[in-house]
């Protein structure tokens, strides 16, 4: 660069060997030619001061170091895609061409790009946006929505051709195949990707039928992942009524989207794992619950059965049967007793009768009559007469003998 400048100066000089008088315009034009040809595509490092954004959208500032400064302009068309906000005191590296403003004889740097010095531009922009949104409260825990435990429909915002959608689909198919996945295909990198992602999130909110959103993409360079660090995506995630799991890049990549999302997954596969439960585990849980239910039901039934059978065995319930049995025993006893007594009585009686019969035989009046005695009885009342005092004269009497009888009349009573 220096050598080309030398050449330029050298090349000018021979044209004017004599004392040539320049006009201001001529000189300026010559200077402009030299400077603008000689200083293009320069990387210049310095500190920003006097930063101003004009209403026209152009930005003006000075770059300075300890000993010098130089004016800079960055036209609107170039600064619109700036990822970070330049400010006074910031150390930057600019890519610029030197231009000369003929009217005022001034030179300035026409800035094409600005990067934060020392750290990458994207990192810087990331830090800046992160700080701003954090201060605004977009990351705070109170805004995090609950991820549904058993979503039925999951919306996915990612590229239709990337690894992310395939990974998500594979995990869902393995863990919980009945979940409905709905893709809203977007570009995930390049110009306009962030706006498409943001729009897709809004669209799912308008559509309304999904329980959960997964927003993300597979791994890539920081530039590839950049869309997920843009404010428009962060705001769309924040505004979403539907809970969002972010899944950007690999484990180590953190995006602004991750900070705003309700849950951050390290990868798209991990997002799918966080989104749905494992069907096998659930079936196992269900089976356990079912077993517990059956057991406790059976326990309830058998405790009732136990109560019933303990009642069946109870003394109280058996008391009437016992009483009946006891009465029956007593009746039996009494009956037996009665029979015994009866027989005894009969026997005694029979013995008595036999012995009496003998006695009776001896007392039989017939036998007495045989021996010559007779029995006198009054005729009218058949009364047997044992004493003469029982008789009166003229009483009709009957006298019985061993054989036959005779009737007579008392004609005289004798005293003893």
């Amino acid at each position: 660069m220096i050598s080309s400048l030398d050449e330029n100066i050298y090349s000018i000089s021979p044209k004017n060997p004599d004392r040539t008088i320049y006009t201001v315009s001529h000189l300026t034009r010559e200077i402009k030619l030299v400077l603008q040809q000689g200083f293009t595509n320069l990387w210049v490092e310095g500190e920003i001061s006097n930063f101003k954004r004009h209403d026209s959208g152009h930005i003006y500032f000075s770059l300075k170091d300890r000993e010098a400064q130089i004016s800079c302009v960055m036209w609107r068309g170039r600064n619109q895609n700036l990822l970070f906000q330049p400010q006074d005191g910031m150390k930057v590296l600019v890519l610029a061409d030197l231009t000369v403003y003929e009217k005022y004889g001034r030179y300035q740097l026409d800035v094409v790009q600005i990067r934060p010095a020392g750290i990458g531009e994207l990192q810087f922009a990331f830090q800046q946006l992160k700080t701003r949104l954090e201060e605004e409260g977009l990351f705070s825990a109170e805004h995090k929505k609950q991820i549904p435990k058993y979503p039925r429909m999951i919306g996915v915002v990612t590229s239709p051709t990337g690894a992310a959608i395939r990974d998500i689909q594979n995990v869902i198919r393995r863990r919980f195949p009945s979940v409905q996945l709905i893709l809203r295909p977007v570009r995930v990198q390049g110009e306009g990707a962030a706006e498409e992602i943001a729009q897709a999130i809004h669209d799912f909110n308008d559509y309304g039928n999904v329980d959960l959103l997964i927003v993300g993409r597979g791994g890539g360079s920081i530039e590839d992942l950049w869309a997920f660090n843009e404010e428009v995506v962060a705001r769309a995630i924040f505004d979403s009524k539907i809970p969002i799991i972010s899944a950007v890049g690999h484990e180590i990549d953190f995006s602004i989207a991750d900070f705003v999302a309700d849950l951050r997954a390290p990868t798209p596969s991990a997002a799918a794992e966080l989104a749905v439960p494992d069907k096998k585990e659930l079936l196992f849980t269900l089976d356990t619950v079912k077993k517990r239910m059956v057991q406790s039901y059976q326990r309830a039934i058998s405790s009732l059965q136990e109560r019933i059978s303990s009642i069946e065995r109870s003394y109280g319930l058996h008391l009437p049967f016992d009483m009946v049995r006891e009465y029956r025993l007593r009746v039996d006893d009494i009956t037996r007793n009665l029979k015994d007594r009866y027989n005894f009585f009969i026997d005694t009686f029979r013995t008595k009768v036999f012995s009496s019969a003998d006695k009776l035989e001896t007392l039989n009046p017939e036998n007495v009559l045989q021996r010559g005695y007779s029995i006198t009885s009054r005729l009218d009342d058949d009364q047997i007469i044992k004493s003469s005092e029982e008789l009166n004269e003229e009483d009709a009497v009957r006298i019985r003998f061993a054989h036959g009888a005779a009737l007579g009349t008392i004609y005289k009573i004798e005293e003893n």
Binding site: S178, L181, L183, L282, V289, M293, Y297, R299
Partner: protein, 78 residues
Amino acid sequence: MGKSKEDIDFEKALEKLESIVATLEKGDCTLKESMEIFEEGMKLVKLCELKLNEAERLLQKLVKENDGEFRLEQLDNA
């Protein structure tokens, strides 16, 4: 009636089932109550199993029409 039963979501069904088990385990229901809630529990178990074993669904795409309406379209990238 059948439709509303189909529409009960898995989470609710499982929660209900847990509470049924807890009630049964407490063991202070009448026989009639036990029988009723046990029957309900078994129905919920069936329902949950059914939900878990629902057929795999194909990936669909959300398409936004020009009039702002949405429709789903089958996306066969498997």
